[in-house]
Symmetry: C2
Subunit: 381 residues, 2 copies
């Protein structure tokens, strides 16, 4: 059973995150301290400096030689299994579609492990689980984000071939309507800075689209180069890859970072958590409504995010033979709120951005009770 | 003598500040990551949240019952002595003027104690000096900032009476020219958000000027209300006064802050140092040139800031009988780079803003060698 002391520890870890988020939300909605472009300046700082430095700091201080292979295997199995089922669904069912496949995949496998997962799970299961979460973070940033970019680029290429894109646009009344939209809008639209959002990639809006315009059919090389260029422009990639490299060096030869470098990294990395939460709050405050899509989609995304994802993770973990704290970590980690990066991608490629926005915001609001319920249920076993 | 280990400790404390500042500078000047209004969003966050929370955290965790009265006396004596001499100069000499009196007073008594002083002096003289610095910070924020606001408001009132303001406008070629400027510009000019700068006060541009327009001669009540309204709108005031109140309570009855509140404050206060330095770097990057005023003014402001201020402080401290680390702290503290808040005031009231901008930026660049030279000289005694 979860004790009152455990509960207080979890609250102590989580309430400060909500305070930072709430102050930002109120700054926009009530006090009108920030204009939209001023918000985008803070978001850009978070995406370009705070989160990459935080990722570097956390990853580089975790021993990469102590990886839990079973945990990685279960994590990978969960993601591939879901991808496989979604591909079958998209190909062979009447309701299946490529863009919904991407969105559902995103909702199933991309929780906010770095910002929410680490502070939430530390008081629950101690330092033991942090190493496991760092593995998940590295894989998310180095493997799964590029895979999502591939999927979205493929989607964009399909759209270019068709000459236009169909997308479903649910209103809150549950009415469904199809809208035809010229691809020009997608390819020619220059995101203004005010369009930016938390976790936004620096310069991610500078897309290499010339190739696509001249040759509608995207070649594998084009796709590869396009994804590579995006990955290379993303400060998170540098943060996590450099963190991993330094971790491999320092734990192999037992070298610690010179204090002056460590402190130079820390001065910005310590801003990461607070600024990321503040940025999330600004994002919430700048959306017209917290729930931006229809009820059915809200329910679907919440079920996928908080139940389906962790159920598949639990099955895979048990099948592989993971037990104890690692199992609990795997399950709760899979049921964290939606990662902000997924909204950034959805917005950039205009694929169900309203669903992802709702999943991020509503996900944050319900994540604490959800995590506590999971913790309670897992404590009973 | 200063040892190599001491030197390294000072470098370890200061280089990270410069790294954060440099990254921001390069973000604006080279990488073009932030637009001017995006910069102002970050600056506004720093002024409204990061610094007030940092001030609260530092002040509330310092025992207010351990104040060093002699130190406060010396600090106050230095400031009043300089003010007295400057008033005489302004009243009775041919070169004296009220606006130069304010600027020279600002250059003499307002170092950047909170952001630069504390990290710089900690490795030099240990925790003992931090309590002394906190006293200086509290007095700066609670006593001297309001006094500056009074002086600037008086200046604005003088300007209103005359119907116009004369100000000297040196160019870099050393040419001097007088420009006549209608006060309407001062009173009617609405600062756009892009005009904001580090340390900017939230909503400080909403000036209560109606009274002044109807009654050109400002009454004492008007002056008091105007200053009070500005002080009350300044988040730094809340941060420092609340910090002081909590310090008085907690050290009196030995009550520690509930962990959940402490962490809620910390999540934003830890961003203070890094974000303040980043904001300074953005400020540097957004100015057209680092040295914005003529050579003579640069030399004057550097001499006042780095030599005059600490010389008077040394005299006052010795006269009062301060010795040892407290004396060294008093002297080096007086020779820190110019506080950013003074530039904000100068800009708002349009009194030698180019001199203050140069003093802030150039001051930051030369502060490390200056502090090391002082440390070396004081080590010899």
């Amino acid at each position: 059973m979860i004790s009152l002391a455990d509960l207080y520890a979890v609250f102590t870890a989580m309430v400060p995150l909500y305070v930072a988020m709430f102050l930002a939300y109120a700054s926009v909605k009530r006090w009108e301290i920030f204009t939209p472009e001023q918000c985008s300046g803070i978001n850009r700082f978070v995406a370009t400096f705070a989160i990459p430095f935080l990722a570097f700091n956390i990853i580089s201080s975790t021993d990469p030689y102590k990886i839990n292979l079973k945990f990685i295997l279960a994590d990978t199995m969960q993601k591939l299994l879901i991808l496989f089922v979604l591909i079958l669904w998209a190909k062979f069912t009447r309701w299946g579609s490529f863009n919904w496949m991407i969105t559902l995949f995103s909702l199933s496998i991309m929780p906010n492990t770095l910002i929410i997962g680490i502070p939430l799970l530390r008081p629950m299961y101690g330092e033991e689980c942090i190493g496991l979460l760092v593995q998940v973070v590295v894989l998310q940033l180095v493997v799964w984000c590029p895979i999502f970019l591939c999927l979205y680029e493929l989607h964009a290429a399909k759209v270019t071939m068709n000459g236009k894109v169909r997308f479903t646009n649910d209103t809150n009344e549950g009415k469904e309507g199809d809208e035809m939209m010229n691809v020009e809008v997608i390819f020619k639209k220059k995101n203004t800075p005010a369009d930016e959002c938390p976790g936004d990639l620096a310069h991610s809006n500078e897309r290499e689209v010339q190739g696509e315009v001249t040759h509608p059919r995207m070649t594998t090389t084009n796709l590869f180069l396009s994804v590579l260029s995006k990955v290379m422009k993303n400060p998170n990639t540098y943060g996590s890859v450099l963190g991993l490299i330094w971790g491999l060096i320092s734990f192999r030869w037992n070298i610690s970072m010179p204090k002056i470098i460590h402190k130079s990294v820390s001065i910005l990395s310590v801003t990461g958590l607070g600024m990321a939460m503040f940025s999330l709050g600004l994002f919430m405050g700048s959306q017209r409504k917290i729930i931006a899509c229809g009820k059915r989609k809200v329910i679907l995304s919440m079920v996928v995010r908080f139940i389906f994802s962790s159920t598949v993770m639990a099955m895979c973990s048990i099948a592989i033979g993971i037990r104890g704290i690692a199992l609990k970590t795997a399950i709760i980690q899979a049921a964290l709120p939606q990662g902000v990066i997924t909204f950034v991608y959805a917005k950039e490629y205009q694929v169900h951005e309203e669903v992802l926005s709702t999943a991020v915001i509503l996900g944050m609001l319900v994540s604490l009770p959800v995590a506590l319920i999971y913790n309670l249920l897992l404590g009973l076993t």
